[in-house]
Amino acid sequence: MQEGSGPLAGVRVVDFTWALAGPGCTLFLGMLGAEVIKVETAQYPDAMRRGAYSVSGDLDSSPTFNSANLNKLGLRLNLRRPEGVQIIKRLVAVSDVVVENFRLGVMDRIGLGYQVLRQVNPTLVMASSCAFGSTGPWRELAGYANVFNAMSGMGSITGYQDGPPTELRDSIDMRVGTNLTFAVLAALYHRQRTGVGQYIDHAAAEAITRHLGDAVMDYAMNQRVTPRRGNRDPLMAPHGCYPCKENDTWLSLAVGTDDEWRALCLVLGRPDLAADPRFADGAARWAQQAELDSIIGAWTCQRDARQAMQELQEAGVAAIPSFSAKDLFEDPHLRARGVWQDVEHPKLGTTHVQVPPWRLSATPASVRRHGPLLGGDNDYVLCQVLGMGAGEVERLAGQQVFE
């Protein structure tokens, strides 16, 4: 198997995660060079392999599953069978990290809780993430992105001023996975120095609330509920998202200083605005936002979003289109930074994936392989990693241990 060259080269992760919150974490660990072995069973394959995500209904041909599980190896194992549980214990004995995001107690019920695995591998780092953490009145509740988003407070502060709250979806799961990644890395660093393992109890909703900590401080200080503001800012103006020439294309534009305001007036060809005391400083502009929004909107709707961005940025004004996935896939800046990488997939052929978002100069992160086929790496794991003979594998297969 291709040896990772990243910071976690030589680290082996036993991955019980499903959907996106958990897999996001092991995706990053894999990108950092760890060898991630994703454990699945045929009865309960990862949800991303099925449903709307799969192209042809085949469990191994979901591009979305591939994106979220790059670099990972596939171990198909029936955990209802004691032999399956036994194999996991032998695997954990030669691994460093276990990550899971089932509902509370599932791992214990199948005999693979931390207290058990700790006996097998005393320096193990085990990370458990569920909706609200392993303690507290809501510990039993199922975790989904829309639950984390709503209960964390993020949904209530996103959306139009005069509209309902907003559901952020996949990105919320990925934020939970990213938070978990940081915790695992911190534990691994500590283990490197002290040899001490950890059990990490991660709460998804709390992780999202951390990303609106400033809004919560307003309540702590002033008992004031942060309202939805659309694209507006409490202090800066103009500050919004303006329609451009093509249908459903938009330009986000924000002015923070008087110099930027004067630069904007220059680009708009409106020296009169630059001299008008009604707009001469931030506080004055804020009071005139409605008028400013119409003036700017009138200018942007005659221009292509990308061309407007260039013109404004060259003058020193912060303006970026609201990029769609299409815009990003074709974006010259991202192409120049080599963000897109082609990965061959046995069933999907050439897939386009994003390279890791952090560029480490000495020990780079990498995408080395497509996502796993269901059970695609059983031989490698059982024979090379666990040293099982062909006969033993045959015998276990007969007992549906690998169903």
Binding site: P234, L235, M236, P277, A280, G282, A283, W286
Partner: protein, 403 residues
Amino acid sequence: MSRMALEGVKVIEWGEYVSAPFCARTLADMGADVLKVEHPRGDRSRRHGPFPGDVPHREQSGLYLALNANKRGITLNPSKATGRAILLRLLESADVLVEDQGASFVDGLGLDYVSLKERFPRLIVASLTPYGRTGPYRDYKGHDLSANAAGGISFGNGTPQREPLVVPAAQVSFMAGLGAALATVMALVAREATGRGQLVDVAEAQVVGVLLTGYHLPTYIYKGIPGYRAGNRFRLGLYPNCVLPCKDGYVCINCPQMEQYQRFLALLGNPEWTNNPRYRDRRAMTEQYPDEAEGLIIPWFMEHTKEEIFALCREHRIPCVPVQTIQEVVHDEHLASRSYFQELGHPDAGRLTYPGPPYRFSATPWGLRLPAPTLGQHNREVLCDLLGYIPDDLPRLRAAGVI
């Protein structure tokens, strides 16, 4: 408590460092309601020190605390449109504006007297600049050092052939501030009769140059002597009129009258050299061979301490006193008997000793009432309670650099 002399007089101080703040402080000490307008970055004297324990702290600079007691303070940047509008609203209820922002800068903002006159006919504007608002040096840059130079003061201070010295501790700026306060009160008295405000153009160099070199002007006009340095001797005096070292420091002797000089010689035991005619002409001794003359009496001084010399000279009514250090001044018995020094608490700097009253009024007492304002301390009181801004505006005004 009886009324203070300038009670009800509203002063806006738009000043930094020494001269303008000392002018406003002088008016505040006599009861004027002074509001100090500071640029959001704070008065530069906040950075000057001295600081308790030499640990710099924006609210604990000794120079700032001394210059700005008895004032309320807000932050405001009149070069921003909204800042200028707020200043104009504050001027509506003001009797006096004290400013030292520089002629061209103030004119550029339309905040000079000529621009304000129509709207505020009763407003008195005390404008302090290094060289004055008229004349070729109008827009020349200047500091305390420059006012000492143009004022003709430095030329006379220090040792012949060595570089001329400033009067220490920014005293020229302090005196200019005092002069501006005097001129401002004159304008207030005039306004009681005329009903009109006016411009008070105070040039720091002119205040000291006029009041301190008036005595030297005739020496130049009639003797053609443009001035010279005389080290430790007071140039126009008769011997002995100088500062001499003694056992534990320095003393200052000045015996213009013959009887005083004879009593001094008697104290020295009428030494042999008094018979020498060369040492009979006191003016020649000062102007032609001062070092030789001083050499005659230095030995006596070196045998005595400051204390001994002072006691002997008081007893024999000889004008000779110790050169008191600041420490001796702060602990001086005479000043203590008049309870000259006063203490005042400050939220950050704690309880400190401040210089006391320069004059004592029998009916309208001088008072050390308020500690210097912390940066923007009265922003809410002035902007919200007085001018009607809602609290929600304040963060915007702050972010826009207006307050």
